[in-house]
Amino acid sequence: MIELNQVNKSYGKHQVLFDINLTIAKREKVVILGPSGSGKSTVLRCINGLETIQSGDIRYEGASVLGDKAMRKLRLEVGMVFQRFHLFPHRTALENVMEGPIWVKGMKKHEAKELATDLLAKVGLSGKEDSYPGKLSGGQQQRVAIARSLAMQPKAILFDEPTSALDPELVGEVLSVMKEVAAEGMSMVVVTHEIGFAREVADRIVFMDQGKVIETGTPDEILDRPQHVRTQSFLSRILK
């Protein structure tokens, strides 16, 4: 479904991604692990064109998204959830969720409202429809952001450290919504430090360090029998 071939990315002279190869199949859940600064978020941001790449190719359903038209299609069909939510502060929770369907897909307002109400209920936020983001906790904001992404009825969602900006006691509520989305068969690429989530949900874990994919495998392979010394030392640090 999504394919990265030999992707290189640099900021000026500073190269941050080296020959990244990665394939995400339909309905697959891929978790990207790695120390901070390893380029994992950059990989996600390259997929949906928030960053431009210097060489290599990114394909979505067979077509290169380096062209505008294919990138449009990808953005319509692949959602993104950000570390710092990026909800629209001037709109209520409900309006945040309605915004995409109305202004991108041209959905009728009452249909969008119905859809958004259902999605907020799904992420456990019934009753918060009219709250502005500033009045919601981090965990609630992130759940609105997930609902906003789901409202576009995407085929895949990219999660960029969705729980890293949250207080520890709020992480659980966001992860459980993500697990529910995963259980419904959504394709997902998740950058996270939540090893428990990776073990439970991932079909495949990709370990990155210093802009390179170090190793890839099932959760058992990566978490219990890591082959590479860098993976081992990362896991021993994070599991301590």
Binding site: N48, G49, L50, R72, R75, L76, G79, M80, F82, R84, H86, L87, F88, P89, H90, E99, G100, W103, V104, Y132, P133, G134, K135, R148, S149, M152
Partner: protein, 220 residues
């Protein structure tokens, strides 16, 4: 000489006529300047470099030279090249171009003040740049833009006194004609000052209401 305002009272219609001209000049140049400034601000934040270059050239010239010189070039200079304008057109055009240059900077800084994450979220939702501008960036930028914009509008109203020098009989210039017949400089110019103050105060009141209405949405 004692102050005596009663002497100039009969000239009130003259002042009011001048004030009305000042209002017309200001409103027209503010409206045009606002349009120019919005276009300029969008150009300055555009990804297309020729647009940025044109906008930069524009603000560089019109913020970097005195309004009076700009007005004189338009009214006294251009006829030499065969372009002739009436004083009113030249006055409005000069003030609009000058105001537009400042508004361009105000709009640019308002747009760039909005968190980058907002346009990223809009892009990730599949919004085009224009939809993102209209629905996401614009409404948030306006809050940042309004206070300096009001400031600029007040400057423009006051600067309109300069167009008297391209022969428009607006509020400031009426003073001269009244002084010629009354020799009451102090009285005349204080009355004129009060009239400017009334105009700028009205603008400030409107702006206050606008800001209040805006913060009602801002429950964040």
């Amino acid at each position: 000489m004692k102050l005596d305002y009663s002497v100039i009272m009969p000239f009130m219609p003259v002042f009011l006529e001048g004030a009305w001209m000042t209002v017309k000049l200001s409103v027209l140049s503010l409206a045009l300047g606002l349009v120019l400034g919005i276009i300029g601000g969008l150009c300055k934040t555009s990804a297309i470099w020729p647009l940025r270059a044109v906008a930069n050239l524009y603000t560089w010239i019109f913020r970097g030279t005195p309004l009076l010189v700009q007005l004189f070039i338009l009214y006294f200079g251009l006829p030499q090249l065969g372009i002739t304008m009436g004083p009113f057109q030249a006055g409005v055009l000069g003030m609009a171009l000058n105001t537009g240059a400042y508004v361009t900077e105000i709009v640019r800084s308002g747009l760039t003040a909005v968190d980058r994450g907002q346009s990223e979220a809009a892009s990730a939702l599949g919004m085009s740049r224009s939809v993102a501008l209209f629905r996401v960036i614009g409404p948030q930028a306006i809050k940042v833009i309004i206070p300096p914009l009001v400031n600029q509008f007040i400057m423009t109203i006051k600067n309109s006194s300069m167009v008297s020098l391209v022969t428009i009989t607006e509020l400031f210039r009426t003073g001269e004609s009244v002084i010629v017949s009354t020799f009451r400089s102090f009285e005349v110019y204080t009355v004129i000052a009060i009239m400017y103050l009334i105009m700028t105060s009205l603008l400030m009141i409107v702006a206050k209401q606008l800001e209040k209405g805006m913060s009602a949405h801002d429950r964040a």
